[in-house]
């Protein structure tokens, strides 16, 4: 069950979050702009990660409180890498390498948020909270 309490709560920006997360050890640090969840340090912690999300109002800032990670913990998420490569293939040279790196970190944040959701158990019967109604107009 994911817990987004206290230290996991405040955040700076989605990109800054990603940067900090990569530079962090055991202590959960910055969340994304959304100010939502936190990501615990990547491995070996099994805890859910924080979301890197856009929001309307910025999340409360917090000071980075973690020490830098060791090199082994700075490995890039291969799924994020591949998703970013897909974007690159589509949008080619629209962004600089540094900007693509920012995008990749945002994608990593999204994937962390998704892991936090998956770590929260829900019954298989639970349907999404959307509404669709079959439509029939008034004519014959």
């Amino acid at each position: 069950m994911a817990d987004e309490s206290s230290a996991l709560n405040p955040s700076t920006s989605r990109r800054e979050f990603a940067k900090t997360a990569l530079a962090a050890v055991a202590v959960p640090v910055l969340a994304p702009l959304a100010g939502c969840v936190t990501a615990p340090a990547p491995a070996p912690s099994p805890a859910p990660a924080e979301a890197a999300t856009p929001v309307a109002a910025p999340a409360p800032p917090v000071a980075p409180s973690a020490a830098p990670q060791g090199p082994g913990q700075q490995e890039r998420d291969p799924v994020a890498l591949h998703l970013t490569e897909g974007l690159k293939a589509k949008y080619k040279d629209r962004l600089t390498d540094a900007q693509w790196d920012e995008v990749r970190r945002s994608v990593e944040g999204n994937l962390r948020a998704a892991r936090a959701l998956r770590s929260f158990e829900i019954p298989i019967q639970t349907e999404p909270a959307f509404v669709f109604r079959a439509y029939r107009g008034t004519g014959r």
């Binding site: 969840v37 999204n110 959701l117």
Partner: protein, 471 residues
Amino acid sequence: MIPAETFYLPLPRLAEMIRTRRLDPVELAEAALQRLEEHGPRLNAVVTVTRERALQEARAARVEIAAGRWRGPLHGVPYGAKDLIAAAGYPTTWGAQPYREQRYPDATVVAKLRAAGAVLVAKLASVELAGGMGYEQADASFTGPGKTPWNLEYWSGGSSSGPGAAVAAGLVPFAIGSETWGSIITPAAFSGVTGLRPTYGRVSRAGAMALSWTMDKIGPLCRTAEDAGLILQAIAGPDPADANSADRPYRASVALPARRRPRVGVLKGVAEGSQAEVKQNFERSVEVLAGFAEIVRDVTLPKFPYGSAAGVIIDAEAASIFEELVDSGRVHQLTAPEDRIGGYAGQVVLAKDYLRALRIRTPAAVAMDRFLADGGFDALAHPTRPTVAYPIGKPFNEAYKDLAGGGEPIGGAANLLGLPGIAVPNGFGRENLPTSLSLTGRAWDEQLLIALAHQYQQRTDFHKRVPPGFG
């Protein structure tokens, strides 16, 4: 000549002066237009002054009121609308360069206010695309960074930056803003005004820019909690143009429940990571609340990944909404450099992750409602923001590095689950900038929140303070 203090009057008093013809709607509109033109540029609060429409609506109000046809407490009262809410006859820019020329018919909320006799005097500034591209500093709109009238070196909050600043500076008696995640209550806090986030579905979103179809809310920024109720009464209700609008009209009242003492929960550790002044003001606010409500401390929310779910939902929905903007490359016309690249990552949010977030929403909503109902809570109290306004010219994450953060994730929970909230000024902090108290309640309990906030404002005067130079 209408004095500046008129713009700081609560709506019932303003309405009474208009109804009894001691205040002329046309003169009031002209005074508002003058204040908007004089102070608006200093605050970066105004996109468009709607002079022609304002005078037309004000003249109509004058004629009707003179004929004894007073429509109610908003009749003849000037207001501004965040510029992601459409108003016929003027551009609706969404605060974003790529959309500066677009025009639409009146949004439902504008049409409802027109029907109530309110006078639209301005389209007010917004963070570009309501912050949907992930802005990281205040200068994220083609109108420039919104400035709080309390100190022009600091931000008025976002994304409803213009509504916050304009109400605080007395340019308009009230304004309409929108919130997907924090965009009404944050500018209310940073600008020192009252802001109401209605329950999702209470107010039609038709004609307003969509950032997240399932999370966007529209609500007022104004002087008092009572004002917020009067405005909500005018704008709430079902709308065929918004399938998610509910058949839940609102009847304004500041009455507390009869025959029982209200019960307010204080979230555990919620002020722990806040600035010292924020924490101190919050504790004083709780003492004030204790004067008329039972206080239950150290309340903890049901455990759900609220923030992650809300984040994934906004990311996925915004990615679909702004796919063309990103695809065409026009996203690079946005003001904030980070916003120019902020839309790409959303394009690869996985469908299963979005659906997972939507699946978590219902059990979370049920658990939260049970928690509030079983606990007998009329509201949960918390600081609206852990800090005062951010300085302009610095990235948000560099503004207050001395904070540790903390507390229950009420912001993400309330917005994910569509719960109402009200923010009211509760003191001042660093640089004499305002701080704010929030009350969050069960779905459709706006009346209760407004009544509690009204009681708080009956016992305090922070909502009556006027920023230096604007009185």
